[in-house]
């Protein structure tokens, strides 16, 4: 059973009061959308990736997120420098293994980054299964597997890597290897908008910054997306108007909207 300190609404209030500076090394597709999503939810994004400065910046940020959607050799150097900087400063970092099953280069980079001890990993079912050493991966950036198929992989990965693992899809699942929670809500248009998962990783980053309970923080981030998605879906006539309504809904989130639009179940 969740106690009050674990409620998504309480986590949202905590995060907004801190308004954490979140450093993101993410893909080109996601950059603008992710920054706007983080701003809408109440965090302060900064996209800083150059190896010359990524580690220095990670020491002043509240959290770091790393996403391998559009890889390049020099960016991987920056990711490593940033993760090292975050670790040295005791700041959590969140890993998003986009399309990790698609190419051997991607698998190698992901394996390497996992050794740098992320505080949380967020991916779709196929990505989490590949990362856990199960399954062959989805087609491109989409998941070929339902969330349920990745639950045991998520628990195994969480225990092995000592981090929170979130599998997102129609109904989300997050675990620290011992505890677990599910988040229902959202809207069918969400997979029709690019970089929604990437942006969600950014919101997880905002919530784990300074969090006492990283699983509860991750659950609150998932709940924000689910609740805002539910609300945006009501106003939207298609993927264009959904994006607009989604940013508006994220900014308008409060405890009541969260409770109305997202169902979080601990187990």
């Amino acid at each position: 059973m969740p106690n009050m300190t674990r409620s998504p609404g309480a986590e949202l209030t905590r995060m907004r009061e801190a308004a954490p500076l979140v450093q993101n090394i993410t893909n080109y597709v996601a950059m603008n959308w992710m920054a706007n999503v983080q701003l809408a939810v109440g965090a302060a994004p900064a996209m800083i990736h150059a190896p010359e400065e990524a580690g220095e910046f990670a020491r002043i940020a509240g959290a770091l997120t790393v996403n391998i959607g559009t890889l390049s050799r020099s960016w991987v150097e920056g990711m490593r420098a940033a993760a090292d900087g975050a670790n040295a400063a005791g700041r959590p970092w969140v890993f998003d293994p986009v399309a990790v099953g698609a190419t051997s280069y991607r698998r190698a980079v992901a394996r390497h980054l996992m050794e740098l001890r992320p505080a949380a990993v967020r991916g779709n079912a196929s990505e989490i299964m590949v990362l856990a050493g199960q399954g062959a991966g989805g087609r491109g950036v989409d998941s070929g597997d339902p969330v349920a198929a990745a639950e045991s992989a998520a628990r195994a990965l969480a225990l092995r890597a000592g981090c929170v693992v979130a599998v997102t899809g129609a109904e989300d699942y997050a675990t620290d290897g011992e505890r677990a929670l599910r988040v229902a809500g959202g809207h069918a248009l969400m997979p029709r908008i690019t970089a929604m998962g990437c942006a969600l990783t950014g919101v997880v980053g905002a919530f784990v910054a300074g969090a006492e309970d990283r699983l509860a923080a991750t659950g609150a981030a998932l709940a924000c997306f689910a609740a805002a998605g539910t609300r945006a879906g009501r106003a939207a006539e298609g993927p264009g108007s959904f994006q607009v309504a989604f940013l508006d809904a994220l900014a308008a989130l409060d405890e009541a909207v969260l409770d109305e639009g997202a169902r979080v179940t601990w187990e």
Copy 2:
């Protein structure tokens, strides 16, 4: 005269049922918009450009698009690796020669990429004329020439390169060197939104994936843009609301909307 297998509506249905995975190596300005446009129309975009993985990924994608809007040396390596991979796997790739006339570097890169046998080329009139060896090129990324001025250049280029060539503007023209079609429709706000041409190239990529008739497929892609543009123009109060309405209209496309908003004429 078009037969039924060539109708834009039938092509749209075929493309949506396949929901092709389309790999795009495109410019930074276009990335997010292009991915959202491809998702709205019914395809599955993936932006993968690193030389280390671009060729491997091209073998699992249904089609590849390459756009030189924002060039860099390492990206050109990735473009070559991807085009080679697509060719080796027998997958079509579509070339977008953005602003090819603007600098000597751009002309050299475009010349090199044309040798890698694209299945289709989409550009504005100035770009197609430069690529065909005629004309000095437009100002920056905009066309300095009307579509009609590029028709003979398009036919010559199509014959020489053995590909479909689409010249887009107020009224579009596409040819495989022997047959040709024109597409009318769209809206005056379309040139006021960045990366519309780039995104259209992505839609051409989605349609030529697995197509039996690449000219008919290209015509259907152009028709989707024209029809969605016509519809979006009715709802829009400016370029901001046009973008929103355009994505909604692309997702809402069906055969009736296509027939209403776009006029395709074969010749």
Copy 3:
């Protein structure tokens, strides 16, 4: 006192008639938004950054803007090549020192770029203070200081570098070291949208292209943002709908809307 040639409306008409080609080397977050903002206001953006072509392109553009939001070594080479090209062709270039106080790499790059004689600099208060050698810089990309705190730094920097310096925030301040102006207007949602400052730098670039009075041109750019922001704020329900309404408002700007939504005061 402003004379008629200095009125924002007259500057807007001049800029729109010229429809200047503006080359932008900007960060990945801003690219799409900035291009759409420049198109909405009436300019023609082109994002060209490769060292192989940035200098050549700068000679055909009406103005250049350089933004260090997402740095990389090869991009800095492109920035230098472009600024050299602009200087050689007698075209103005505008510098945006994003988060210059955040890392030592950023400070070094900014110092170097200032030596290439920008025609204008636009930043928030913290950035301008760091660039002028005062203050330690804001947190990440946000300003930790109010505009008023940076006024003397702006004047000193303008005199030392021989350029216009614009400090933007709740009320903007711009100076050439001798004259100064203030622009009030805008809306509280503007800092909740990413890359608004970056896009404003792009609009400054459009206005200083071919301008006789670069301070008046800069003031007109700030006035456009303030007026469009005021108008968009009336229609917006959050940051998503604000973005849409802002682009629509920029495109709908005319002298009357400018006068209604922005207050420009010379001193």
